[in-house]
């Protein structure tokens, strides 16, 4: 079988280069996209995990507060506890660097404690008193303005020992001296270290810590210690194992990663469909060849093996191209967008590309499986053929005699609907993705029945070519399956994505309008970083001419449950402001008890299983404060959950009068630009950021569009592949029907009419495929919006149908299909009619 396998089976791939290239392209694309997502994420997660391990060192447990931190009085209490051998306090600051786009993570550490728990954070003083540079560990790190950079941070900021780095505290700038390096930090970690006392002073955080790393006394069991120590902690402070921190981020980014992976899987599935189309056509064309081989003694199993080998080779080569492409794309992505695929999950790390043998093998195998899967049915069809019949010409019509499979299709759709009901598995919407797959399979199963139905609805057209095309498709609806399967898959993918993205975009747009009511926004830095506006600054801004009102927002983070990741707290005027994009409850609660109103995001409502009217305790100022859920709002910004409370309530409960974002309402006729100049003059050039809501909206929507650019590109590629699929299918069909066309020419049909016949057949096939694809796409969009997005990201959106775009897309696709078939059939039309009728092959 070896020589036969080479010459008869594998060589056939070379004889149809276009179909082979298309199948390869589709498989390569699916493999490349899937593997790229995994490679980027695995490198980022790896580096992130390394960072967590580096920062937790040999700590057994960590006491973690919210962003506001914890009272450092807790530290001596823990340090003296009999369960604890060493306690090492840490103050983590995300420092804004005026004049630079990035922030820097600064760890304030106790130099004497850190050596015992996280020695890799130990700073080294670089003393430059002559060459060569001599490194001596001294008390230099205790100097209040000394900052020590990790090698990656030094490289990123282009700073060396002795240089100065300006950081921002509130709207004030302060220069720090680079005292040396943190050599143990490794190459991928962008961070800096300074003395904790100095950090508290420099960043106005006196008396505050963000974390205490604990090493337990010998013989103390971690679980028991965790329970005992938890009793000592104030509300909102958690005691975690170092692994918990790693799983927080892994859990957060999982849904995003899974979604992208599923997109890639759909691309791979489209590849499988193309292999199916190409192989089935090849089987039809080579029917007499296979009949001859069977007559010469090739058994069914060998024939099936040969054809499966063709699919496997397609999958393997496609997979190899895909894998190569994936590594190139990953390297490019690291260079261009960093390790977080633009989603902002992993800040402060610089992951590097590594060869991942297992992942690579998995994706290569997936490529081979796509090829094998696509070749499976055609191989079975070929092996089933009766050789005596196959040797006769005209037998190929058998393959196209597909039966409508309404029952199986209905079963798929019912199963898909049922799969939408169960909750996600480990945060992944497994049911949703399976439902998408079943809808696609159901759509393909509907295709022969839909073709028959559509052809009957056409009635008895008068135009000859239309009549012939209708007769052909009605008699051989299987042809529509072969040519249309790729179209249905790609159209369904494109349409579902278009509907989902359009719904998402318009919902985000509406959300932004509600969230950004003011005329101008001002902030000292991002909410998590070290810039803020103090009350005097706010008062000075409010007093500027042209400002009629200010709208301060304070952001904080809270830990509601010790074992969960922290959530966002947003304190702002609610009842007097522009409200919230509510999906339940009201802005004006009529509660009679002492509980303050709180408006929680959909994600938080989902995670805490809370409804309107339910009580909610929030840890503010080290105490649990009573709140009541007044409403649930839509939030696309904070996947982990957010709660909005009235700014006045927040200030009364915490005595925190700082502001992160300040919305400014301007008097009529005041130009925002004039005010912006006045603010810069008040606060300094580089210590604030200002933006107009229109610009911010445009910027956010631009980021949104960029994020979905990959999706648009994939849609375009899928549709293109589907179109090429129609082209190659009709080229192959035209070639296999040369005899039929020869007879039609003998009967008086002109060459041009044969071309028109092919175009009409292609247009009808594409129209049926388009119709089924549109319906399937709509159903998939519903699953994506109502099930996958809700379960993965816990947010809802309003369904929006881009009717005009879909209509234009549909009509263009039908026209392009007709054109592709016409061009592809040109060869068949050139064929001499007499030769075509008498030739055997």
């Amino acid at each position: 079988m070896n020589a036969a396998l080479r010459h008869v089976f594998l060589a056939s791939l070379w004889r149809r280069p276009l179909a082979t290239s298309l199948s390869l392209l589709a498989i390569a694309l699916g493999v490349a996209l899937g593997l790229t997502v995994q490679l980027i994420h695995s490198a980022a997660l790896d580096e992130f995990g390394r960072g967590i391990r580096l920062l937790s060192g040999t700590a057994d447990l960590q006491i973690v507060g919210s962003q506001a931190g914890l009272d450092d009085a807790l530290y001596p209490l823990l340090a003296r506890h009999p369960d604890i051998a060493t306690a090492s306090p840490v103050l983590e600051i995300e420092a804004r660097l005026p004049g630079r786009d990035e922030t820097l993570r600064i760890f304030g550490i106790d130099l004497f404690r850190v050596a015992q728990v996280t020695p890799s954070l130990l700073p080294m003083t670089d003393v430059q008193d002559g060459t060569p540079t001599e490194r001596i560990d001294r008390l230099g790190p205790l100097q209040p303005d000394a900052l020590f950079l990790s090698p990656a941070a030094a490289a990123r900021l282009a700073l060396a020992a002795g240089d100065r780095l300006t950081v921002q505290i509130g709207v004030r700038e302060q220069a720090l001296r680079i005292g040396g390096s943190v050599p143990g930090a490794g190459v991928g970690q962008i961070l800096a270290v300074m003395d904790i006392g100095a950090a508290q002073q420099v960043f106005d955080r006196i008396g505050r810590l963000t974390r205490i790393d604990l090493r337990l006394a010998p013989g103390i069991e971690r679980g028991e210690a965790q329970r005992r120590l938890a009793d000592l902690l104030p509300p909102g402070v958690a005691i975690l194992t170092p692994d918990d921190a790693e799983s927080e981020v892994t859990g957060l980014s999982r849904a995003y990663r899974v979604n992208l992976t599923m997109l890639a899987a759909i691309a791979l599935l489209t590849g499988g469909f193309l292999v199916f189309s190409a192989q089935l056509l090849a089987v039809v064309r080579r029917r007499q060849e296979f009949a001859l081989l069977r007559a010469l003694g090739l058994d069914r199993a060998s024939l099936r093996r040969g054809l499966l080998a063709e699919g496997a080779v397609l999958g393997l080569i496609g997979g190899l191209i895909g894998v190569t492409l994936a590594y190139l794309l990953t390297a490019l992505a690291f260079r261009l967008i960093g390790g977080d695929l633009g989603a902002g999950f992993f800040r402060g790390i610089a992951p590097t590309l590594r060869f991942e043998p297992l992942l690579t093998l998995v994706y290569l195998t997936l490529g081979v499986l796509a090829g094998l899967g696509g070749a499976w049915l055609p191989a079975r069809e070929a092996a089933r053929m009766i050789p005596a019949r196959g040797l006769r010409a005209g037998d190929e019509a058998e393959v196209y005699r597909a039966q409508p499979r309404w029952g199986a299709a209905l079963l798929c759709l019912i199963l898909a609907a049922l799969l939408c009901l169960p909750p996600p598995l480990a945060g992944v919407s497994v049911g949703g993705y399976l439902a998408v797959l079943l809808v696609l399979i159901g759509a393909i199963l509907i295709l022969p029945g839909a073709t028959l139905w559509a052809m009957r609805r056409l009635g008895a057209p008068r135009a000859l070519t239309l009549r012939l095309a209708r007769a052909r498709l009605a008699a051989a609806p299987g042809q529509a399956v072969v040519a249309g399967a790729g179209v249905v898959a790609s159209v369904a993918l494109a349409v579902s994505m278009a509907i989902m993205v359009d719904s998402f975009r318009s919902s985000v747009d509406g959300w932004l309008t509600r969230m950004l009511p003011a005329d101008l926004y001002l902030r000292a830095s991002a909410a998590t970083a070290s810039g803020y506006l103090d009350p005097e600054t706010v008062a000075r801004i409010a007093a500027l001419p042209g400002v009629i009102d200010v709208y301060p927002v304070r952001f904080a983070s809270l830990r509601l449950d010790p074992m969960r990741e922290s959530i966002a707290l947003i304190a702002r005027p609610v009842r007097t402001g522009n409200g919230l994009p509510l999906v339940a409850g009201s802005l004006q609660p009529t509660g009679s008890d002492d509980a303050h109103p709180a408006w929680i995001s959909e994600a938080l409502a989902d995670r805490l299983r809370l409804g309107v009217g339910d009580p909610l305790a929030l840890p503010l100022a080290d105490r649990l404060q009573p709140f009541r859920v007044a409403g649930i709002w839509r939030d696309y910004a904070r996947q982990q959950g957010a709660v909005v409370i009235e700014l006045d309530d927040y200030r009364a409960l915490t005595n925190d009068w700082l502001t992160n974002d300040l919305g400014l309402f301007l008097a009529d006729g005041t130009a925002p630009e004039t005010l912006m100049t006045a603010i810069r003059a008040t606060l300094g050039e580089q210590t604030s950021e200002m933006i107009l809501p229109g610009e911010l909206r445009a910027m956010i929507l631009a980021v949104f569009d960029r994020t979905f650019l990959v999706t648009y590109l994939m849609e375009a590629v899928a549709v293109l592949i589907g179109l090429f699929g129609i082209g190659t299918t009709f080229a192959a069909l035209a070639a296999s029907r040369r005899k039929e066309f020869g007879i039609l020419r003998h009967l008086g049909l002109r060459r041009r009419q044969i071309g028109t016949l092919l175009s009409v057949e292609a247009a009808l096939t594409a129209a049926v495929g388009m119709g089924v694809g549109l319906l399937a796409g709509g159903a998939i969009a519903l699953v994506l919006i109502e099930v996958v997005n809700r379960q993965s990201f816990r947010w809802s959106m309003d369904l929006q149908l881009p009717v005009v775009a879909l209509l234009v897309f549909g009509l263009s696709l039908i026209l392009l299909a007709a054109l592709a078939a016409r061009l592809a059939g040109a060869q068949a039309m050139r064929q001499d009619a007499v030769l075509a009728v008498r030739e055997d092959w």
Partner: protein, 221 residues
């Protein structure tokens, strides 16, 4: 030795109406027979039944010591690979293989390596007078030449039985004679059994015996 005893075949699978029945025949190695008959009497079906490409409804077929009617599909395929050669009316050459590769096809199926198969195919093409065109493509050949390649393919693996279905049906009388002479001479010299199905009395005369297929069996023509 080929022996056919009481072979019968019905129309379809359930019909009681026989296509042919009581077909019996014995042929020794090196012997050839031509089977004639009206259109639709089942001549090609008889060949297909002998080759195991269509099931029989009754009777036995033995080739040498093997009971063909008792073989399962895969065993029959293996036997066909080794012991059967075919010549069809419409040649059935694979257009994407060279003449030498077309002739080597049965040897490939017997797992012979490329080189050995190639050498034997070329030698066989020499025998049918096309040795110089071994690397040419089928599309460059005339009908008569194509059928000579098909004869080479049918005999290259030295089969015990060569089945020919109207081998000259697509050729003019002059070329037909040349092809038939070559076919029977090659069959005889290889010591194979030749079974020819044809409408043409001229073609039939090239065989050792001529029989007529009727619904009730084979009779002398």
């Amino acid at each position: 030795m080929l022996s056919i005893e009481n072979l019968s075949k019905r129309f379809g699978s359930v019909s009681e109406h026989p296509l042919f029945q009581a077909v019996s025949l014995r042929l020794a190695p090196g012997e050839s027979v031509a089977i004639m008959g009206e259109s639709g009497v089942g001549k090609s079906t008889l060949l297909n039944c002998l080759a195991g490409l269509e099931p029989v409804d009754g009777g036995r077929i033995r080739l040498r010591d093997t009971e063909l009617t008792a073989l399962n599909e895969d065993d029959f395929a293996r036997l066909r690979r080794r012991d059967f050669g075919f010549v069809f009316q419409s040649f059935h050459l694979l257009p994407h293989l060279t003449l030498a590769q077309n002739v080597a096809l049965p040897l490939w199926l017997l797992d012979l390596d490329d080189r050995t198969a190639g050498e034997r195919a070329r030698a066989m093409l020499e025998r049918v007078g096309l040795g110089a065109r071994a690397d040419d493509w089928p599309r460059h050949l005339s009908g008569g030449e194509m059928q000579r390649v098909a004869i080479a393919r049918a005999l290259v693996h030295e089969p015990a039985l060569v089945l020919c279905d109207e081998p000259t049906g697509n050729l003019d009388p002059e070329r037909a004679t040349g092809v038939l002479e070559l076919l029977f001479e090659t069959i005889h010299s290889a010591g194979a059994i030749g079974l020819l199905v044809t409408h043409s009395p001229t073609a039939a005369t090239h065989a050792d015996r001529v029989l007529r297929l009727t619904r009730d069996g084979l009779v002398a023509a």
